[in-house]
Symmetry: C2
Subunit: 418 residues, 2 copies
């Protein structure tokens, strides 16, 4: 009979524990920095941004043509044009020094400021200049046609960007538009990675038979970077309580990391070492010991001194899946983020074969995704969770939920893309 | 009557022109650098990577238990277990110094190397130790069960990663696994941004009425960064042929940029300046003058001295859309990339209202996307293409193709997420 090694937690329970046992307010408040917006792409905003002024701040032409009173064009057609007097030309970047009266117009370029009295721009294509001071306008235009009104882009006092949002290119642009070239953002959390396992050697080394190079430090480091954190590589530590404990304390003190990931230690012996160390580190200690996820069951989470410490499974596939489920959201939480940016990388796919799954756990299936006749298909990639090559061949993962026993061929499921 | 200002090109024609008029082979070959894989996330590989050895390189246990000959377990059950002699314990990271004969077993941990004679691992949960040298095995297991075979992850000579692929976390991991800690990648192309427009002032400045802060330099700079390039900010240049020409020559010489983006210049006057400058720069000169895209029609593309120079529309929304259509793929081409990574950010959405479009052009509609009952809906965000705030409110874009006149409410369309 299979004896369960420990009581497992569901993924939702793990996230709930992170939220309830960490003082996120304290962490985020002490992790704010001010940076130039040119370096702020994809960073998480630590302040609310309100429009300090109207944008553009003046009535602005969106076309080349003539600023007019729209009323002067009403009823104008090719066969019955309106005649308007040209009273001047608008200089770009300056306030016009003259007014427009009924029957008058002023030459204007895209981006130019409408003079007083004008409320529309007649496109140059619908006009003909008759002589030095007269145009024919051949179309009827509405008030404010071809004009951006002074507060049409932004109104003074309007909330533009909320605290906790992840800055995209256009968000950087709007900040430039209101002159806010420096911005408060959350610091990228530093996450230490410690690899354990007496059979693991550095990637630069030459393994003797029975040894294997450290894959997880690299995979997890890249995952941390991608999720918006800074990886701190602490190398490989032998499976001994004292050494592992020293290393954790050292990286917390020296590197001032916000979290620690211990990778490796899937075997019972190593797991015991990790567990003992995490239990010795201080309150509240070990909160999770096993999760209902396949692959990834032997996952440990402890919190000590307001700092999460994960014991991730040693198999590279399992480690990546568990990272995605728990460490990626943690990196977002540590920056006050409310936005799960990974959700933007999901597509609907059709399964090319039946998939079975045990009820009571979330199953993550590696899939190769291909497009055919404008539809996406997902073909499972089989292979043990120790095989990094399966992740290299895969385009993404599909999840089979906790209480679902399987999914049939032809079903539509959501795939999370790498 | 509307007179077309110039003969417009379709988006596909523009991409084809970039590919046919640029000597991409020459560009990519001279743009290779060698970096540590820890810094190579999301970079484009400039070499093919072949497995130099088998991975893991030895038969490796994926479980804690006993290494056995599978044949010794055949027929074993709870009520009729097999009895096996324990002949030793496998040390992690070392080659076992003993063999297994029929009827024998050796204690092994996850990650340990199977001794000669063993071809499977009996999970510890299915065993009971009877005395110091004997275990009961209560299950029948197949040959190679709970074992990663020596070449199961990678086989010597197998192609692991292809030239031109974008490195993901697992790709970095597999490189570490084969000891390839330095890798050839393509340099990130430097792209200069020059803002034009006499009404534009630097974002740090205080605009007088009629002036507007430079939004596009910032938006486009962030877009370049996101697409895998390095933005070179050249600031704002007055709309004068000589000044613009000098600036382009200067940035090409000083910054050694691979491409130049001139932003602004939507007005006929400014467009004329840009056009004149681009025509003076040398062969083949201006290739595109207007594209069948809305918003974004007044787009110019010139190539001179194997270097693309874009005249992007001045409206921020148009500039971003045109960037995405042409500059983003260019950045990928300049790095030998075959992979359109933006396709990973597309989801299917249902339109919440009818959308009309003119046949003969691609229409890009800004949409706000929300989820309801597990379905995604797209609600158009209306507003002129000069309004950066519409892009801030939008979650993405939907495209209405060249020859489609509109899309009905309830239709399913693909949205490209920001």
């Amino acid at each position: 009979m299979v004896k369960p090694l420990f009581k497992v937690s569901t993924p939702n329970e793990v996230i709930a524990m992170l939220k309830s046992h960490l003082n996120l307010k304290e962490i985020t408040q002490s992790n704010i920095e001010v940076v130039d917006i040119k370096t702020a792409l994809h960073r998480i905003l630590a302040e609310e941004v309100v429009a300090p002024v109207n944008l553009p701040g003046f009535n602005r032409s969106t076309m080349d043509g003539y600023a007019i009173g729209a009323e002067d064009s009403f009823g104008a057609t090719d066969s019955l044009p309106s005649y308007l007097k040209i009273v001047g030309e608008i200089k770009m970047g300056a306030k016009p020094e003259f007014k427009i009266n009924p029957g008058e117009s002023a030459k204007i370029s895209t981006g130019g400021m409408l003079p007083e009295g004008a409320n529309a721009v007649m496109m140059v294509e619908y006009t003909e200049q008759i002589d030095d001071t007269t145009i024919e306008a051949r179309r009827s235009i509405s008030p404010w046609e071809n004009v951006v009104r002074e507060d049409e882009d932004l109104k003074t006092g309007e909330i533009i960007l909320r605290k906790g949002s992840r800055l995209r290119s256009q968000d950087i642009g709007v900040l430039a538009g209101i002159g806010k070239t420096n911005i408060k953002i959350y610091r990228e959390p530093k996450i230490a990675i410690i690899s354990t396992g007496n059979e693991i050697i550095p990637a630069e080394g030459e393994p003797r038979i029975g040894q294997i190079r450290d894959i997880n430090s690299y995979t997890l480091g890249a995952c941390i970077e991608e999720a918006g954190g800074i990886p701190v590589y602490r190398g490989i530590i032998k499976d001994e309580v004292i050494l592992l404990e020293q290393e954790i304390k050292k990286t917390i003190k020296e590197d001032k990391v916000e979290a620690v990931i211990i990778s490796g230690g899937s075997s019972v012996g190593v797991r015991d070492v990790t567990l003992e160390v995490l239990n010795r580190l201080g309150k509240p200690g070990v909160l999770v010991h096993g999760v209902s996820v396949k692959p990834g069951k032997p996952t440990i989470l402890a919190i000590s001194d307001n700092r999460p410490i994960f014991g991730l499974p040693g198999h590279p596939v399992s480690a990546m899946i568990i990272f995605d489920l728990f460490v990626r959201p943690l990196i977002s939480l540590l920056q006050g983020g409310q936005y799960n940016y990974n959700s933007a990388k999901e597509i609907e796919v059709e399964l090319t074969c039946n998939m079975v799954s045990d009820s009571g756990r979330e199953d993550y299936i590696r899939v190769f995704i291909y497009e055919k006749d404008k539809k996406f298909y997902a073909e499972p990639i089989l292979g043990k969770s120790g095989l990094i090559s399966t992740m290299v061949r895969a385009s993404g993962l599909i999840k089979i939920g906790l209480n679902i026993e399987g999914v049939e061929k032809g079903s539509k499921v959501v795939a999370k893309l790498f």
